[in-house]
């Protein structure tokens, strides 16, 4: 099953289970979503629950917040993270704050889907990865699934969550295939998974860079370096315990992500582990992430702008 099909399955299962789950966004019906992740749902659930909207991101999200406040469970599809910024006020000032600023008398059970990740020719406004923006906002849960199985199980958990979840699929993963269990697995939010076990160096990563790190780990194994790859899955709250357990073993940490390295979420993980695990560390913590540039268009600029297995291999070899 593909990453896209897994997401479709998750939403369909949750909509069958709970009549108050519904989705809104652009092009959900005719197009079936930007990657087919809503395909066929309009026919099954009708236009009141699969709602095609005008290009009004602020009102898409603002009205989703209002509908969540009144007890429904909206899934708001914003297509690309770049357009999520058009609804930043509704996400940051409304969805994230209401439960707290109203003294806990209500909840905002809302899922905001906005895909991150590089896209062929996407350039500066269709290929950004903004998970750190939302992780910085108290009140939000931020999820970045890396596999079809997790995309099914985490989306189900996100829909069942009583707090607003920013759910960030990756455009480069839509067509990736993987096993998805037959039972209706719900993957818990806030728990990392160990994508590969190893003794020498820990790589903490998420989303598309999990595969990049695994490729690097394969190459490094041939050179006698065993890398443990932790797929964080949920960015906030992040699974600090899983990272600590791994560092107890390896004493070496590299954090890798596609989003801009400067002030990225890797900086938070690196700083937190430096504070807590100082005595256990055998090498300086390293980070790798996107350059602090807008995403360039020309194919000749792809390679130097992206996080690659070769770069990870180079860094890890110096750490081990």
């Amino acid at each position: 099953m593909t990453y896209s099909e897994a997401a479709r399955l998750a939403l369909a299962e949750e909509m069958r289970r709970d009549p108050l789950v519904w989705a809104l966004g652009q092009d959900l019906g005719p197009e079936g979503g930007v990657a087919g992740q809503y395909k066929g749902l309009l026919a099954e659930f009708g236009p009141e629950r699969i709602v095609d909207t005008p290009i009004s991101e602020a009102t898409m999200l603002g009205s989703a917040v209002g509908a969540a406040a009144m007890g429904t469970r909206p899934v708001c599809e914003l297509r690309y993270a770049d357009f999520g910024i058009c609804a930043a006020d509704q996400l940051v000032n409304q969805a994230a704050k209401m439960r707290y600023m109203f003294g806990g008398q209500m909840r905002v059970p809302l899922v905001v889907r906005q895909s991150i990740g590089w896209k062929v020719g996407g350039a500066a406004q269709h290929a950004q990865s903004t998970e750190a923006w939302w992780a910085h906002t108290p009140g939000l849960v931020v999820v970045c699934p890396a596999t079809p199985r997790d995309n099914r199980g985490l989306l189900k958990a996100a829909i069942r969550c009583d707090d607003p979840v920013v759910y960030m699929e990756n455009k480069n993963l839509w067509a990736e295939t993987g096993d998805v269990p037959d039972d209706e697995e719900v993957v818990p939010l806030g728990k990392a998974s160990i994508a590969r076990e190893g003794e020498d160096v820990t790589i903490v990563t998420w989303s598309r860079i999990v595969a990049v790190a695994l490729e690097a780990a394969g190459a490094l194994a041939g050179r006698g370096i065993e890398v443990e790859v932790i797929d964080l899955r949920t960015i906030w709250p992040w699974d600090r315990a899983a990272v600590e357990r791994s560092l107890e073993k390896t004493g070496r940490l590299l954090v890798a992500h596609e989003s801009v390295q400067a002030a990225g979420f890797g900086a938070e993980i690196a700083a937190d582990m430096a504070e807590r695990m100082h005595g256990k560390l055998r090498a300086p913590i390293r980070r790798i992430g996107g350059r602090r540039t807008p995403i360039p268009y020309s194919e000749r600029l792809d390679e130097p702008s992206r996080v690659t297995p070769a770069q990870i291999v180079g860094i890890v070899e110096k750490m081990a």
């Binding site: 009549p19 108050l20 519904w22 009141e48 629950r49 709602v51 909207t53 005008p54 009004s56 602020a58 009102t59 999200l61 603002g62 009205s63 989703a64 917040v65 209002g66 509908a67 969540a68 406040a69 009144m70 007890g71 429904t72 909206p74 006020d89 509704q90 000032n93 409304q94 209401m98 439960r99 707290y100 600023m101 109203f102 003294g103 806990g104 008398q105 209500m106 108290p138 009140g139 939000l140 849960v141 969550c161 009583d162 707090d163 939010l189 806030g190 728990k191 709250p237 992040w238 699974d239 600090r240 315990a241």
Partner: protein
């Protein structure tokens, strides 16, 4: 005069109007006390006075059912009181106390009372419009015939999100009543000087909404209009009320009202809703003593709320971390 149960909405029944007059006085007494408490240093941050605009919230909310909801904005005290929120809980909120409507964590701009359908005041202009659209959508999904009211000021008509929401309500035929309280100023700037075209009413009509412009300081007119439009809204036709009014105080507690000609403010006092309704009630045979009694009762009730707020316990430190979200950093 002995008060009976409130008669049918929208009628000029004197008992009903007398009752709404009481609500207006309660709002005004609250605002006067809030302003005083702010000056005395017991209330912090922004307090936006609704003084002079009380007829709109009072009469619109008098035509709502208890399970209908409203989304308010920064100038929100009047909407909460008119929907039935306990002024004592609100005053405790302004004082930052544990038993405030939002447990002391919201303050004036984040008073909410979901038990009565008050979806909250809001610090971001125009957001009430989108939230009300969403609430209305939820009612439809659940098969309920409740409606949502979005209150906002004239400043909000220059926010894109408000215009998006007007379009949204119309295309989905959502049961939303938009109420634009035009007090002529967007903070310190005259709205008309920064608004192209013919203003709020024209903009609402451009989206095909049934929209009316009324004297928002005329309690009876607001009451009649709300009574006429709300059944239409409940039947799935979003409507828009442009209620012309004037705020008698400045925009916000901490900002001196230096941008309006004092003669302009003075000239508007004769048209403010409490005076006008008082004149009408006197014409109906109430005595000045009856009306003075209403004001005194409102002031006493609010004075008691202020006393209670002074004595109310503060939040304990654990409140800082409560209600951010269910999931936090795993231990």
């Amino acid at each position: 005069m002995a008060m009976q149960a409130m008669p049918r909405s929208g009628s000029n029944d004197v008992a009903r109007i007398f009752s709404l007059f009481e609500t207006m006085h309660l709002i005004r007494a609250f605002e006067i006390a809030a302003d005083r408490a702010w000056r005395d240093g017991f209330v912090r941050g922004s307090v936006h006075q609704y003084i002079g605009e009380e007829a709109i919230a009072t009469a619109v909310c008098a035509n709502l059912r208890r399970d209908d909801v409203l989304a308010s904005y920064h100038r929100g005290h009047g909407h909460s009181i008119a929907k039935g929120t306990d002024p004592e809980g609100m005053m405790k909120e302004l004082f930052g106390r544990r038993d405030g409507t939002s447990r002391g964590k919201g303050g004036s701009m984040h008073i909410a009372d979901f038990s009565l359908g008050v979806m909250g005041a809001n610090g971001v202009v125009g957001e009430s419009a989108t939230l009300a659209c969403g609430a209305a959508k939820a009612f439809r999904l659940k098969g309920e015939d409740r409606i949502a009211v979005a209150f906002f000021g004239d400043g909000a008509i220059n926010r894109g999100v408000t215009l998006e929401a007007l379009n949204w309500a119309k295309i989905y035929r959502l049961p939303v009543l938009f109420v634009c309280e035009e007090n002529e100023y967007a903070v310190t700037v005259r709205t008309a000087t920064v608004t192209a075209g013919d203003g709020a009413l024209a903009r609402a009509r451009a989206f095909g909404l049934h929209a009316v412009s009324i004297d928002g300081n005329d309690l009876l007119e607001v009451d009649r209009t709300a009574a006429e439009l709300i059944p239409r809204v409940r039947a799935g036709e979003p409507c828009f009320i442009h209620a012309r009014t004037y705020r008698l105080f400045g925009h916000v507690s901490f900002q001196p009202d230096t941008y309006r000609d004092p003669a302009e403010v003075e000239s508007r006092k004769a048209f403010e809703p409490i005076r006008r309704t008082a004149r009408w009630l006197l014409d109906q045979g109430f005595s000045q003593a009856d009306l003075d009694g209403v004001e005194a009762a409102a002031r006493e009730r609010i004075a008691a709320a202020v006393r209670a707020a002074h004595e109310a316990p503060w939040p304990d430190e654990a409140a800082l971390l409560a209600d951010v979200q269910d999931l936090e950093m795993p231990a």
